[in-house]
């Protein structure tokens, strides 16, 4: 789950990391008030979940509250990379002496969080790591033991930072590491971490991402502190009608799991496929043999006839879908006969001939003899494990390409 900058700012603030006196505003009038309270030059930043704000004109400076209101008015109407802003952040224009970088990320190989610190902040850390590796400090933290300030100190000191800067930066990095662990983050980044002319350190910009699997147990932070609504899932794109319908069918019945996605798919061959790895393999197999999938889907965990039927119907009703391919890797839990019944039912209910509509049925495994008997009755072409997933996908592709337009 991704966070807007104003939320990320709040998260670091809650963890005891110093921030500037900022305000989140959804109108020009609010922006004027916040600018008045701040007193002095401010910066107005668009709150969107996408990069490239600066280039797009989503960040502007103002010397007076009137100017701040004017900029806020414009930025609130400005679409950036297809996203409308949720509001603007009004921040004092900081007098920065030096910019630093602090973050915590997962190291999947070590299976531990990794702290990163650099005295070259404000720019892309991967670039710094490549060009100035001696300016990047790194250190893992334990998943079980308390995070000691000394661990953060070692990482800061590794970049050559010393003196009061070391002593100011150390607790900030340690707190960032603790908040990463406590809040189930997958990314906790402060960039830049600014040393102001008065010697104090503040988080000028922060970027946070939380693991989706942990959203359920972070309710206190999400709902209470940040006031994020339950249905505000922050997906990278708006779900389509197809995607919404498939998840509604899935939610209506606890038996088995179906999923459907069609973002980025525009083809004519509907895919009723499964399970996780099987679906990835089959989607590639269709595309690599010249086929154009209309969607991606997953069947798993032995869904009911109604669920399999619901998924097949949704796929068949997509614009431009002429045929469906029903394919899975060998199943041991999902029953072949149940999926067969479901997809045939879908064809019949839509007034289509299953033998014509189902380009291929390749699901070997549990209850396959029963399933194949049903398919035979309706004239559907099917195959067992002796036909590979690649070959089955190829047969489906050649059928649709041979079909009249």
């Amino acid at each position: 789950m991704r966070f807007y900058e104003y939320e990320a700012r709040k998260i670091v603030e809650l963890a005891g990391i110093p921030v500037t006196k900022y305000g989140f505003c959804t109108s020009a009038e609010e922006a004027r008030k916040v600018a008045e309270e701040i007193g002095g030059p401010v910066v107005i930043k668009s709150q969107v979940l996408t990069g490239g704000r600066m280039k797009a004109g989503g960040v502007k400076f103002a010397d007076t509250p009137e100017e701040a209101a004017q900029h806020a008015e414009e930025i609130l109407k400005l679409e950036i990379n297809g996203h409308m802003p949720r509001g603007v952040l009004v921040d004092p224009k900081a007098e920065v002496k030096q910019e630093y970088y602090a973050s915590v990320v997962w190291d999947g190989t070590a299976k531990k969080p990794l702290m990163l610190f650099s005295d070259m902040g404000g720019i892309d850390i991967e670039e710094v790591a490549e060009t100035h590796p001696d300016h990047v400090g790194k250190g893992h933290i334990s998943n079980l033991l308390p995070v000691g300030d000394f661990e953060a100190k070692q990482v800061v000191a590794a970049t050559g930072v010393t003196g009061s800067q070391l002593n100011r930066a150390t607790p900030i990095l340690a707190r960032l590491a603790r908040l990463f662990r406590d809040n189930d983050m997958t990314l906790a980044e402060i960039n830049p971490l600014a040393e102001l002319t008065d010697g104090s350190f503040v988080a000028l910009d922060a970027h946070m991402e939380m693991e989706n699997e942990a959203v359920g147990r972070q309710k206190k932070l999400l709902r209470k502190e940040l006031q994020i609504a339950e249905d505000d899932t922050r997906e990278t794109y708006e779900p389509s009608d197809f995607e919404k319908n498939v998840s509604a069918i899935d939610a209506a019945d606890h038996r088995g799991v179906i999923q459907g996605k069609d973002h980025g798919f525009t083809g004519n061959l509907g895919l009723v496929i499964g399970a996780g790895g099987g679906s990835l393999t089959l989607t590639d197999a269709v595309r690599n043999q010249g086929g154009q999938p209309a969607n991606y889907s997953e069947i798993g965990g032995n869904p009911s006839v109604a669920k399999a039927c619901g998924l097949a119907k949704e796929v068949l009703e997509k614009d431009g879908v002429e045929k469906i391919a029903v394919m899975m890797s060998i199943v041991s839990n999902t029953r072949v006969d149940i999926v067969a019944r479901g997809v045939i039912k879908a064809c019949l209910e839509l007034g289509k001939d299953p033998g014509e509509t189902i380009a291929i049925f390749r699901i070997p495994g549990a209850w396959e003899d029963e399933g194949f008997k049903i398919l035979e009755k309706y004239g559907v072409e099917y195959c067992d494990r002796s036909v590979s997933m690649w070959e089955a996908a190829g047969r489906a592709v050649s059928k649709i390409q041979g079909a009249p337009a």
């Binding site: 997962w106 190989t109 699997e213 973002h263 099987g278 393999t281 590639d284 549990a366 997933m389 690649w390």
Partner: protein, 305 residues
């Protein structure tokens, strides 16, 4: 020979009274595995297919009268960490976590404790492992008769991030007369107990294993880790890899995950294209089509013989 399991391996099932766990217990018993107990808090005194149920792992160990080798954990995500820590602290050394959607922080905690105690975790989000005709630990391969159809004893070790694809690939190796030495469904999450490189030393030490097949996906760095392991260890085992999910490299698919939670691409090294390049640079053959696997394995075995 085999890795991690033998005919004498004993294990329990945590969460044994759940619907899927009941099926899994029967499948394992039918296959000849030694399921010596089950745990569901509050259900002490019941039986599942003749297997006694206890409230705690300690009770199961006491009833067994000695150390138990393994545990299959199939409890809801919110309770998984506690169940695994309980198993580890009661001396269990091999833990298969079936549960999906366990947060990474929890998995990392379990793995860290396992390392401290000398235990090994397989999964989460996996179907377990199987040594054909010897032992099946987890739902891998399904009912005993289906598992027998897909998994015959043989020369090839299989590791896969997808449970279903473990069986699909093993079945093709069985059909081709190559058979399987041990097959491990390692799990589809971003952090798992045992990645390819961590299981390679076991296969390397197993005389029965003559080649390795891996099934892999976008997301994470475990393929790069394997490539490094192969370069550093001068492995005797030829490795054949299959990469699924190449379509995820398309620009429109950016930021999305498909199939398994672990397929989330968080850096440019995580893409299918980049991984294939790394594996190939380490001398690992990456096949384009899933059905090429048995022939390429035969070719590699011919070359090493």
């Amino acid at each position: 020979m085999s890795i991690l399991l033998s005919k004498d391996t004993t294990f329990i099932v945590q969460g044994i009274t759940g619907r899927e766990a009941v099926n899994l217990t029967k499948e394992c018993l039918d296959y000849g595995s030694k399921v010596v107990g089950g745990v569901t808090p509050g259900r002490k005194g019941r039986e599942v297919h003749g297997v006694p149920v206890f409230d705690t792992v300690a009770q199961a160990v006491e009833h067994h009268g000695g150390p138990i080798d393994g545990s299959v954990v199939t409890v809801p995500p919110a309770f998984t960490k506690d169940a695994v820590l309980e198993a580890i602290e009661n001396g269990i050394k091999l833990i298969v976590i079936v549960t999906e959607r366990v947060p990474r922080g929890d998995v990392a905690q379990m793995v860290e404790l396992a390392e401290m105690r000398g235990a090994r975790i397989i999964g989460p989000n996996c179907l377990g492992l199987i040594v054909p005709e010897v032992c099946k630990m987890g739902g891998i391969g399904g009912p005993a008769k289906d598992a027998a159809k897909a998994y015959q004893p043989g020369r090839v070790g299989v590791m896969s991030r997808s449970g279903g694809m473990t069986t699909e690939i093993s079945s093709s190796l069985t059909q081709a007369g190559l058979g399987v030495s041990t097959a491990v469904s390692i799990g589809g999450d971003a952090i798992i107990g045992s990645a390819y490189a961590e299981l390679m030393p076991y296969f390397e030490a197993d005389e029965q294993t003559e080649a390795i097949v891996i099934y892999t996906e976008p997301g994470g760095r475990m393929e790069a880790q394997l490539a490094e392991w192969v370069k550093d260890n001068n492995s005797r085992l030829p490795i054949v890899a299959f990469m699924a999910g190449k379509f995820m490299d398309d620009e429109e698919m950016k930021g999305m995950s498909f199939g398994h939670a672990g397929t989330i691409v968080e850096g440019k090294e995580d893409t299918a294209t980049e991984k294939i390049a790394r594996l190939e640079a380490a001398g690992i053959r990456v096949v384009e089509r899933i059905d090429e696997i048995p022939d390429v394995v035969k070719e590699k075995l011919g070359a090493t013989a």
